[in-house]
């Protein structure tokens, strides 16, 4: 029965664990730095580990460190507001994972959403763009990223001073490299150029004009809107295909359909 109601299998989970290993290395480099800085900001080891384990969001954890004052009262409102602004991107990210969740209807989707982070979301998105991807892949890679994040934050908190500057090893570029590589892998043809360039341009503009991490949401939304507008000609067929598929769990585009669509686009 489980096999009928779900397309995620244990092998998807393992596949996710295996394929996220290079991403976990890049996450660990950031975790080491964060742990080191957390110590300097006055977080106790227990507080550092608790934050990494419960919040599990690197960018937000970096942003609140300057607000953390071990001696005086914590500015709770500022901490929550900063967290909200930096992590707003998760709304967009998990929204794009809905096709997987609708196809497989896993138990406790809300709880499983906890494991959606930048790296494993990007991995699952790259698969989804090829008509593949699964909740199992998302969670398998999520578990590895989570373990890597919490362990490296703890290690950084206890032994950060011994490690030194990650920039010397080029590890500060690992995050950018992983996202550029996954993005390059999602290229399906010239139709991508305008939305992606819009996203990048709007992000740069928003970063110059707006505080915090709004640029991610602004860039993502502007690019997608342009993409929704320019991809209009492709849609009637795809839409008809999905409508014909009927129930939501079968609604996603099968790999073969996605392939032919891509071939058409590149041929043009």
């Amino acid at each position: 029965m489980a096999a009928l109601s779900s397309t995620s299998s244990p092998s998807d989970f393992h596949d996710g664990m295996r394929r996220s290993l290079p991403l976990a290395l890049s996450v660990a480099a950031f975790g080491l730095v964060w742990g080191t800085l957390a110590g300097q900001a006055g977080l106790s080891p227990a507080e550092s580990v608790l934050m990494s384990a419960l919040v599990f969001a690197g960018a937000a954890q970096f942003v609140v460190l300057p607000l953390w004052n071990a001696a005086a009262a914590l500015p709770l409102f500022a901490i929550v507001a900063a967290t909200l602004a930096v992590n707003l991107r998760f709304v967009l990210m998990s929204a794009t994972m809905l096709p997987l969740f609708q196809r497989e209807r896993p138990r406790w989707p809300w709880a499983k959403a906890f494991l959606i982070s930048d790296e494993n979301w990007a991995l699952a998105s790259a698969d989804l763009a090829r008509g593949r991807g699964s909740v199992g892949l998302l969670l398998g890679s999520g578990v590895v990223i989570y373990a890597s994040w919490v362990a490296s934050c703890a290690l950084g908190r206890f032994a950060g001073a011994l490690i030194g500057e990650p920039a010397r090893w080029g590890l500060d570029f690992a995050f950018t490299a992983s996202f550029l590589a996954l993005l390059a892998g999602m290229w399906t043809g010239r139709g991508n150029a305008l939305p992606w360039a819009t996203a990048a341009g709007a992000a740069l503009l928003a970063q110059a004009l707006l505080p915090g991490a709004w640029y991610i949401v602004v860039g993502g939304v502007c690019g997608s809107l342009v993409g929704a507008w320019t991809s209009a000609d492709d849609e009637p067929e795809a839409r008809a295909g999905r409508a014909a598929a009927g129930p939501p769990e079968e609604r996603s585009v099968p790999p073969s359909a996605d392939m032919s669509q891509r071939d058409r686009r590149t041929a043009r």
Binding site: M93, T96, P109, T176, G223
Partner: protein, 99 residues
């Protein structure tokens, strides 16, 4: 651990998890067809582009070279670990010789 610190951490955790779960709930409410669905399909790549654009634009020649090397490596090998390794190696080399 100070109570105050635990409270702040719990608040951060609650906000962050709500955003992760809220995205699923929000997408369920969007129409599954038409412009909203098309926009949502374009969203992953656009969020990725928005995330990396400042890092590349504000980097020096070493970062620009490494970004190009990463994309080229991915186009040729289709392998994430290989592309990442080449990107990181290129940024180290670039900082050594271009700076």
């Amino acid at each position: 651990m100070r109570t105050e610190a635990v409270l702040a951490i719990l608040a951060m955790a609650g906000v962050t998890w709500s955003l992760r779960a809220g995205g699923l709930a929000l997408a369920r409410r969007l129409r599954q067809q038409g412009a909203a669905a098309r926009a949502l399909r374009q969203m992953p790549a656009c969020v990725m582009a928005a995330l990396v654009a400042p890092a590349v634009a504000q980097g020096g020649p070493a970062e620009a070279l490494a970004a190009a090397a990463t994309i080229a490596a991915m186009a040729v090998t289709r392998s994430l670990p290989v592309a990442m390794a080449i990107g990181v190696a290129a940024v180290v080399a670039g900082r050594q010789w271009l700076a």
